[in-house]
Symmetry: C2
Subunit: 364 residues, 2 copies
């Protein structure tokens, strides 16, 4: 079992990564003084709940916790204010009070939704994350929680740090292969922005990661979380440094915005976005290997590196203009300068980005 | 012009109280470096907007601010997640970004709603309060913002401090007399929990307050805000001390919950609640003057001190059980021990409270 501390002063918390943690969840709850008098609400989605909700509920109840549950539909559409309203109904009917805890059992969608529910319910109650996807290693660090608005993703939210994160590697074994690959995109991203050695390790161990070999997976998640924790602890509220975590996301989010429902996964979109950023980096003076290594590691993880031809470049550019990473009208872009190092540039012209997006459709 | 600092470390902010501040709002915005590049969104309600929105908008625009506006229906029903969703639509369409500011122009409802919008939009943008009621002096200090859920008031919210509060006494001149009286209830409450001298001053100056004499009104609001600022600066997140601000609110909220629409105003309900708390205090050993002076000052301000006979005591008790001030099932009550001093008791039996509520219907 690996333990990582996210260092945020009096909001610091640990991430536990290992096999079989779900079966002893109550030990961790006890350790962190989760209240047994006030009800705990576990929020999960229909996919995850079928396998993991009842065992977790029973394990906690057998240890004396009062447990209520809520299951939301799987998928991004659950990240809505309507769903939040329904969860608050459940919380009120279950008698959750100020000492209660909300537990997110699931991937990024459940983490974001349940986290915002915990942030807003009674102006903030305690929150535990139990991620069940590789992708969620990213959202489990840093306390960013949110729901969507029909016009923009993650636009209504908060910074709300969990009490602890329980990362049970066993829950990842049932992930569909495509989700595994997409999840690795954020792992790779953490290497690309911070740690060249880890990028090389990912290239060398990609096969083990794809086959969910627990030791490699635990190491990769620990490293991915470590990079994010380091960045977030230096800049909790995204004033400056934290923006480097958006490598590949400006183009990636725009691709997601114009894609049809379930056509592309977040990790796939940001993989393409990271290729775009690498091309941009080279164009702005970074060595050619920034592009070749980025492509190498993404391909090793089975991730797409080209934009499918049917995507409309105008629509992608239009979507980019609505991204909340635009400050006062100027275009902010995270650009690699070497493998493991990025810079934030605010001088990137839209026309240059447009050329890059065009290039993403072509063979290099 | 009076200026009061709410002392909350790096979230400290000033409250400016005086006549004619709205006409020079841009000077205060400039002083606090509100962004002129990013759009400002003024949120108001239909009642207030008619008189004050356009002048404020024009004043800010003439000073170079980019201003968008949103007008919500007057009344508590606007404090909903649905309304929040609509405001976010307006914010997105107006191009609000992370450096933007939301301005609340109105009473407590607008302050709570606009404040929560500012807290949640892009996970938190800047916020300016321009209260236009006496009651809002209370909500303008402390950063508590929230919307309602059909099952509970203020249950979905945040702590989000404003950058500044602009309290223009001229905007209070158009308040209906009943709103003036109800607003004074929270002013009086701040005296009752903290400052006996101020309670005596309120008794002596009640007529001037009721006739909205600017010097008396400014002094009363300054003192009311000062008490609240002092309490909040010692306990921002309501861990302990801040709970004393709930004097009269446990019974008051329950009365509001069972009242018909617009039947009773918040200030009227908590006036009755404070009478209940005073009775409870005397019953628990406080001197009789706790009751007589509480009654005297509330009557001087034209506030009700008896519960109308048609209110159902069972329904009030039931509503009290849903109040979010209940922790882990036990009943927490703010009880005066002298004029200007209260204590938080967690040992108050429901049967005792029931007797008090019954008594509230009777002449003493």
């Amino acid at each position: 079992m690996r333990e990582l501390k996210v260092d945020l002063g009096d909001r610091s918390y640990p991430i536990y990564i290992g096999e079989g943690l779900l079966a002893e969840a109550s030990l961790y709850f006890d350790k962190h003084s989760i209240s047994k008098k006030s009800p705990v609400l576990i929020i999960s989605d229909a996919t995850v709940a079928g396998t993991y909700l009842l065992p977790l509920q029973q394990q906690l109840e057998s240890a004396g916790y009062r447990v209520a549950t809520a299951v939301v539909p799987a998928g991004e559409s659950s990240k809505s204010l309507q769903q939040l309203q329904e969860l608050v109904t459940v919380a009120l009917e279950a008698g959750l009070d100020r000492k209660s805890t909300i537990v997110a059992l699931g991937g990024g969608v459940v983490g974001d939704l349940a986290g915002f529910a915990a942030a807003a319910y009674m102006r903030g109650i305690r929150f535990v994350q139990i991620p069940t996807t590789i992708l969620a290693h990213d959202s489990s660090v840093g306390g960013k929680v949110a729901v969507n608005h029909p016009l923009a993703k993650n636009i209504i939210g908060a910074f709300h740090q969990p009490e602890l994160v329980l990362y049970d590697l066993n829950t990842l074994q049932t992930l569909p292969p495509r989700e595994v690959r997409a999840g690795l995109a954020e792992v790779v991203k953490h290497g690309l922005i911070w740690d060249e050695t880890f990028v090389q390790w990912c290239v060398a161990h990609a096969e083990k990661l794809l086959s969910l070999e627990p030791e490699a997976l635990g190491y990769a998640l620990y490293n991915g979380c470590s990079v994010k924790a380091e960045v977030v602890s230096r800049d909790e509220k995204e004033n400056d440094l934290r923006a480097i975590l958006n490598l590949g996301h400006t183009i990636g989010h725009a691709i997601e915005a114009v894609a049809g429902y379930n056509e592309i996964l977040h990790g796939e979109a940001i993989a393409i976005g990271m290729i775009g950023s690498a091309r941009l980096g080279v164009q702005l003076g970074a060595p050619q290997e920034v592009y070749t290594v980025t492509k190498q590691v993404l391909e090793a993880c089975g991730l797409p590196t080209r934009l499918p031809a049917h995507y409309d470049v105008d629509a992608i550019m239009e979507a980019m203009m609505h991204d909340k990473k635009f400050q006062e009208g100027s275009m902010v872009f995270v650009v690699p300068t070497a493998i493991g190092t990025v810079q934030i540039r605010s001088d990137v012209q839209a026309s240059m980005v447009r050329d890059i997006v065009e290039q993403l459709k072509r063979e290099d």
